[in-house]
């Protein structure tokens, strides 16, 4: 509703403008990815290959009414955020901006959270050299979009531009779950999507030089659902020594508060070597408490003409308590229990959403022209106790897996 209102506002503003400056640009990625495993990884990647993990096409229109007032709309077509089989159009950005002075920028509308170093431009593959941003870190936030208000204050210390961004807003988004035996409401394996209302606020400090960038941010998301959210999965004894972890007995709360923090840097060191590293941590006290986790990566790259080879290592891990809970529920299989109850335990374990995995990647980008590049990457992901980025096969789990992934993609802007 608010997005519609803002879109109407953006479209109405030029009518009162004397000198409208309109710019538009497009972007896209055609990306093919294949792994050596039959199960799906990151929703789409398996040994059959897929174009759905990375492919996207979009366009952005920038309007400048005068030096103070402007607006931007960005739309994209990409795989749906609430279906594994459909594609969907998204309105990524739709905002009106006001810059009353050089050092103040106010934006109102649909915006993207300034989370990690590349969150705001993550759909535009031509703006970074990796085939895919490290999922261990870039999947950590409950939302990357919001409809609301952003205020950015900037100042200079010598050649370094400092920005302090404050934002607040809300968004509806979907969290994907995968049940390897049964899923929510169905007695077959598969994915489902929980619709969540997320109100988020945050404060982000960024320093940018010609070659270097640093960012630190503190954020808080308040998550709610119609009918409330289950905050834990208690153990319910059925007989001496026999019991189940029962979602239905969990405490229902109206909303959850999830604080998260990020810190990141991208610096050019002697030898023209670029080091990039980011760390993120989030705490979510719900039945899906495996989402309480940290993620980090370190990437090293160096440009050789049109080539930009890189390596990175990324890791994410849920809190010890949530991994213990996952193991307890996942291991609570008892031949005395009916199969439906044993499957119910697997569902409970899947809903905990544990993360324990690392990825090593080796890749390169090659710039074909100013506005197009190709990227190739080989990566190997290893899991520990479990990883909710894997759709675990029926009868098994996602522990101790090794997934080799090869990606080839073409990125362009115009």
């Amino acid at each position: 509703m608010l997005a519609k209102f803002l879109l109407t506002l953006i479209l109405a503003l030029p009518l009162s403008s004397h000198a409208l400056d309109l710019n538009w640009a497009g972007f896209g990625t055609a990306g093919y990815t294949i792994s050596d495993q039959a199960y799906k990884y990151q929703r789409f990647i398996d040994d059959q290959g897929t174009f759905k993990r990375d492919s996207v096409i979009g366009a952005q229109v920038d309007l400048k009414f005068n030096q103070q007032w402007g607006a931007a709309v960005q739309a994209k077509l990409a795989p749906s955020d609430h279906s594994d089989s459909q594609w969907q159009g998204f309105l990524s950005w739709a905002f009106v901006s006001w810059r009353p002075t050089d050092d103040l920028l106010v934006r109102v509308g649909k915006l993207r959270v300034p989370l990690m170093l590349n969150t705001e431009n993550q759909d535009v593959g031509a703006t970074y050299d990796w085939a895919r941003l490290p999922v261990e870190v870039y999947s950590i936030a409950p939302t990357t979009d919001y409809v609301g208000l952003s205020i950015s204050k900037s100042w200079f210390v010598q050649e370094i531009e400092w920005n302090l961004d404050a934002y607040t807003g809300q968004a509806t988004n979907y969290t994907r779950y995968y049940g390897r035996e049964i899923r929510d409401g169905l007695s077959t394996p598969g994915s489902w999507f929980e619709k969540l209302d997320v109100r988020s606020s945050g404060l982000v400090l960024t320093a940018r030089g010609l070659d270097n960038m640093f960012r630190v941010g503190v954020h808080e998301a308040t998550i709610s659902q119609p009918g409330g959210t289950i905050s834990d999965i208690p153990y319910r004894p059925l007989a001496p020594g026999v019991g189940i972890y029962d979602l239905a007995s969990g405490r229902n709360v109206a909303q959850l508060v999830a604080p998260f923090q990020i810190i990141g840097a991208s610096v050019l060191i002697p030898g023209d070597i670029r080091l990039t590293s980011e760390y993120a941590h989030i705490k979510i006290t719900s039945a899906s408490r495996g989402m309480t986790r940290w993620g980090a990566y370190l990437a090293v790259s160096r440009q050789f003409g049109a080539w930009n080879p890189y390596v990175y290592y990324a890791r994410t891990k849920s809190s010890a308590a949530s991994l213990d809970l996952y193991r307890a529920i996942n291991g609570n299989s008892n031949p005395m229990l009916p199969p439906a109850l044993n499957n119910y335990q697997k569902l409970g374990a899947d809903i905990v959403s544990p993360y324990d995995q690392s990825t090593s990647a080796l890749g390169t980008s090659y710039r074909l022209a100013a506005h197009s590049l190709i990227k190739a990457e080989w990566s190997q992901t290893r899991t520990g106790i479990a990883s909710s980025l894997i759709d675990a096969p029926s009868g098994g789990d996602s522990a101790n897996q090794r997934i080799n992934v090869f990606s080839l993609s073409y990125h362009f802007t115009f």
Binding site: Q67, A72, Q74, L105, T127, F156
Partner: protein, 137 residues
């Protein structure tokens, strides 16, 4: 005699090099005052949008134009690839669009004379008499 020929040869090379790098001048609409290097750098990277507390409109020559390349290298300290890459990211993080591009120095001169707040760069030899020079390199 041979030393003299070598010296003349070297002096010839040096003067040819100097001639290739003609001085750059930044001119602005009549009301604008002189500015400094740091402010120009910020103006052409979208980090400031005003000069002398009045709205400013930076103008660029198109990519590949030798004067633009000289401006990027000597004023902004960037290559074309770095500058285009900078604006590519800045546009897609919702922080503005790159300066307007005009096809030739003559178009820049025309636009500056008719647009309050407009700023552009030219080789010294192309600057019309009476122009408001706000920065000289």
């Amino acid at each position: 005699m041979r030393k003299l020929i070598i010296w003349l040869f070297l002096i010839g090379i040096c003067s040819a090099t100097l001639q290739a790098e003609e001085a750059l001048v930044v001119i602005g609409h009549s009301a604008l005052q002189k500015t400094d290097l740091a402010t120009l750098q910020r103006l052409y990277t979208g980090r400031v949008v005003s000069l002398d507390q009045q709205p400013a409109t930076p103008l660029n020559l198109p990519p590949g134009h030798p004067v633009r390349e000289q401006f990027l290298a000597s004023i902004l300290g960037q290559s074309e690839e770095q500058y285009s890459g900078y604006w590519l990211v800045r546009r897609y993080v919702g922080k503005g669009t790159p300066p307007q591009e005009l096809p030739s120095p003559e178009e820049i001169i025309r636009s500056i004379s008719s647009t309050p707040g407009a700023v552009g760069y030219l080789p010294l030899s192309k600057v019309p008499a009476g122009s408001n020079i706000i920065f000289k390199r």
